[in-house]
Symmetry: C2
Subunit: 582 residues, 2 copies
């Protein structure tokens, strides 16, 4: 996105506001910024008619009629009193003016055509010349609280899309349509992957056998990479006394966000764990450690619980029950670089096998604001250098975000890019100089001294539920063979070929292939279509010819057909599965 596109979008927010005032003179304007795909303006329509989805075409026409008259943007600096006079009767603008004034900043008014708004600037210099009339479109109307706070008045937010030109706008709309088609909630139903129950509650998905295979295969892949890198599985309960979080420091920071667990028969009380690190420190602490024992690497695929607001829940990308492929390394400072490299290598291998690109965001501390961070400054500096060295060595596409580190250590966040070009934060790798000390973790070093280990938090997939939501949309439900819940369906032409279909199915199953035999209960065409609707990677039809030749008529999802012997079929499938073909 170019800066000029930002300016165009911001300009269009003003143009929308001008059009709103023409049709709804009673409307009170509030705020209208640019967004990543266009712009919006929040309007208070109290006291008269309100714009709805049906009014968008009319507002859009008015915007297009006004645009040629907006040949420049001028601005003036005014006193707070002058601004208050101008916006008298609009409590929203008055609130903004009071705040700007309280901060001692100058107050500016921007004018284009006959429309003036309180604004900090950042517009097209000549909107009529710079903005193509067919590069934008009003999208929808939604409710929004003033400043996002549900205690405030509910306003009407009018959304617009805006791009460099018509081609880009069309492309975006095609992506939106594609995204709707790929919506994982829709595919989740169609492919029978997960369900929700009103009796269980929102944000709490239940996985069917097919969805559970996806969870297990993804989690199992993550575990196998970690096992090869020396990680060992541990197991922790999902609840803990709050004392654990008082010690870790999480209680002070996030205590109010925890789900609390209470006994009805005693005064015992617990919290549902929202993360695993404090529990894992207690496994580390269960026996004395020597410098030779380090790194100690614990991994676990386990479910955390977070109190997401009901209104924010939908599908798998935001859930209350988050199953994570979490891990924690306890190491000496001199082991940080090797451990960081090994983890980053796993992330590369994993997303390579999943067919997804990613970029890395290196979140560092701000040396100008040392007071925001805990831990030794020299350790921070050294660690950050090592992290960048690893990123360079592995040829990562990375940016450094100075000042974005957590208070306890620098980190790498992995932004995975899906087939529609959307970015998702999935994997993460974080250094932690603080928690080991809070829990009094130690190891005995070569010199006989007790020292504090460094902790590394890492997740490859992050939250498996969320990743699955992303991956269903990325693949449009066409999972790679190794991941597909049903890998091949054997379809008998008629009843008499069913025993052969079942024999082939059992043979494949005994070799670890997820094969299903279809019944001969409908027309062949319908049964083949049913298998394709379920996006089964391979469909194998068996009739007289195939029974005689001990073979199947095979078709993949791209429509490529081939007759292959049973032996060749097994060889082909098991190879594609073990090599994780995409």
């Amino acid at each position: 996105m170019t800066n000029s596109l930002d300016n165009q979008r911001h300009t269009l927010a003003h143009l929308l506001a001008a059009a709103v005032l023409e049709h709804y003179p009673h409307a009170k304007l509030t705020l209208g910024p640019a967004t990543g795909t266009g712009f919006y303006y929040d309007v208070d329509f109290t006291g008269g008619a309100a714009a709805g989805d049906d009014d968008l075409k009319r507002l859009e026409s008015t915007m297009r009629r006004l645009l040629p008259t907006w040949t420049s943007f001028t601005h003036e600096t005014v006193t707070a009193e002058a601004a208050r006079d101008r916006f008298a009767g609009n409590p929203y603008k008055l609130e903004l003016i009071d705040e700007i004034s309280a901060r001692g900043e100058t107050i500016t008014l921007y004018t284009a055509g006959t429309f003036t708004d309180l604004c900090r600037g950042g517009h097209s210099e000549n909107p009529a010349a710079e903005i193509a009339p067919d590069s934008f479109q009003l999208e929808k109307v939604a409710g929004a609280y003033w400043r996002g706070n549900e205690k405030n008045a509910m306003l009407t937010r009018i959304y617009g899309l805006a791009f460099e030109g018509k081609a880009e706008l069309d492309a975006h709309q095609a992506r939106l349509a594609e995204a709707k088609e790929r919506d994982h909630r829709k595919l989740g139903r169609e492919l029978d992957l997960f369900t929700f129950s009103e009796l269980v509650g929102s944000g709490l998905p239940l996985y069917t056998p097919r969805g559970t295979i996806l969870r297990e295969e993804l989690g199992g892949f993550s575990e196998s990479l970690q096992r090869a890198a020396g990680f060992e599985k541990v197991w922790i309960p999902h609840i803990t006394k709050i004392d654990l979080y008082k010690t870790s420091g999480h209680w002070d920071k996030f205590g109010h966000e925890l789900f609390l667990v209470t006994s009805q028969e005693s005064s015992d009380s617990f919290a549902l764990k929202p993360m695993n690190c404090p529990h894992h420190t207690q496994v580390y602490a269960s026996k004395p450690r020597s410098y030779r024992d380090l790194p100690v690497r614990y991994m676990e695929t386990t479910t955390c619980y977070r109190d997401e607001k009901t209104g924010e829940l939908g599908g798998l990308t935001r859930v209350r029950s988050l199953t994570q492929d979490d891990a924690h390394v306890f190491c000496r400072p001199d082991q940080i670089e090797d451990e960081f490299r090994a983890i980053m290598q796993m992330i590369k291998t994993m997303y390579g096998a999943l067919g997804m690109q990613f970029t890395a965001r290196l979140s560092y501390h701000d040396p100008e604001a040392k007071e925001n961070y805990l831990g030794d400054e020299a350790l921070w500096q050294e660690a950050e250098e090592k992290i960048e060295a690893v990123a360079k060595q592995l040829g990562l596409d990375y940016v450094i975000a100075r000042g974005e580190a957590a208070f306890y250590g620098p980190k790498i966040d992995i932004m995975v890019i899906d087939a529609l070009g959307r970015e998702w934060q999935c994997a993460t790798e974080q250094l932690d100089f603080v928690q080991p000390e809070r829990f009094g973790l130690t190891y005995t070093d070569k010199d006989g001294q007790k020292k504090t280990p460094v902790m590394i938090h890492k997740a490859l997939l992050g939250t498996i539920d969320r990743f699955l939501g992303v991956y269903i949309e990325h693949t449009n439900g066409r999972f790679p063979l190794w991941l597909a819940p049903e890998q091949i369906r054997i379809i008998p032409v008629s009843e008499q070929h069913l025993p052969f279909a079942e024999a082939v199915t059992n043979h494949l199953k005994s070799r670890g292939v997820r094969a299903e035999a279809a019944l001969a209960d409908d027309s062949l065409g319908k049964r083949i279509r049913a298998a394709k609707q379920m996006k089964v990677p391979y469909v194998a039809v068996v009739g007289d010819k195939e029974v005689e030749a001990n073979a199947v008529a095979l078709e993949n999802r791209d429509g490529e057909k081939d007759t292959v012997s049973i032996d060749a079929l097994i060889e082909r499938l098991t190879t594609e599965i073990s090599e994780k073909h995409l």
Copy 2:
């Protein structure tokens, strides 16, 4: 246990009471029954000295002194008034007399020697002749509430052990010592299997890498048996809205025992699941089912939470976080027998592989009290016949417990017998005629009608934590090879043999064997002893000779030694593992 042994034990309770009165004339006797290993008597010592552990030898001598004078037991029937006169001043006996009298039963007094007690009988006819003086022993003193109610007075319970003779008493004491030696809490620490943290809370074990291997191997074995029998894995969250249990009926019955989960930011509230069946019904309910789709078989290794009282928690046999190898079958009534047989066959296979005997307890309904059960009487009768048919076919050692069924259906409980002869309820298989109806579950039958499926609840291991506690003691930590966290340790004679030891270790690891190489950091003898203390099934030493011969000097836990080539070693270990040798 013979009836005569019961009588001996009951007689010894009287003898203890007589001895107590000799030494503590102020003592008030209450109740003194026989137990499975001896007897006890509860005494109120208020108003004078109380017997403690140090007084047991003295009481025992007195019992042995009195025993020869107890050559008969006589009894007389008395009126309530006469009895009240006799026990005036003893409120416990008076309470018992009032109760017997209120029930309209006769009141009997039993006398041996000079001691008379309120009693229903069941004694040795000639104690002096029938009871060997060395067949019993006073064991310990403990506190006990009158009639087990904590609102009542605290009494002193004096426990005794009693067996047929000295040999049997000695054998029991040897078993007790052995049980102490095998205590899984002790072995859990020594073998580094699990830990508890005061910050996390009691009853909430955390499993170290070694303990997690045990959990995963046991759970994985259970899953593999189930998968072969057509069970499919599903996944459910650990919490649910209470609505789920209101619908299932659990809320009314067990609501107060649930851990409640509350949001601090909204009014949402949940419960931690104490069982999985209601959640699994919601997966079944996620789409329409036809008679051809049944049986639908869901399995899951998942953690439930139960609010056990803190005082009752200890080790793994009673925990608050219970991980279960749970499963639910939804089937037609005509499929019950096949499903029951398949599950029972899995139980046989599983405990066979684990080297444990079991007996089966068939809990049936009481046809005389039909009002206690829900569901169709004919279905109950038919199901119970089928269950017994299965038990017979599979040659189970079973008893029928009429009247012990749950209100929702008959069941089989499996009592596993450990190496010390103790029985543990582990596996279970239960029919359920009620829950499917409460949740409105249906399938469309051949005739097009909607019908209600029958549900079968089953667990092979039951609670894995609890089973692990039992199995650690059963095996004394000498796990079969396939289960052992560390299967073989390769010990280099000296530093120069370390590279060979590591090469062998890696070779074994690549073949899926859990091998570890020891460092050459201590004397060879000490390092071999360390491996044996960890009960590692195989210890392999490598020195000059072995390096030259590409072999290892192998020793198993029974001390059998053998020099084997690397190829033979791999063959031997992988075969023993895949065949699950004991």
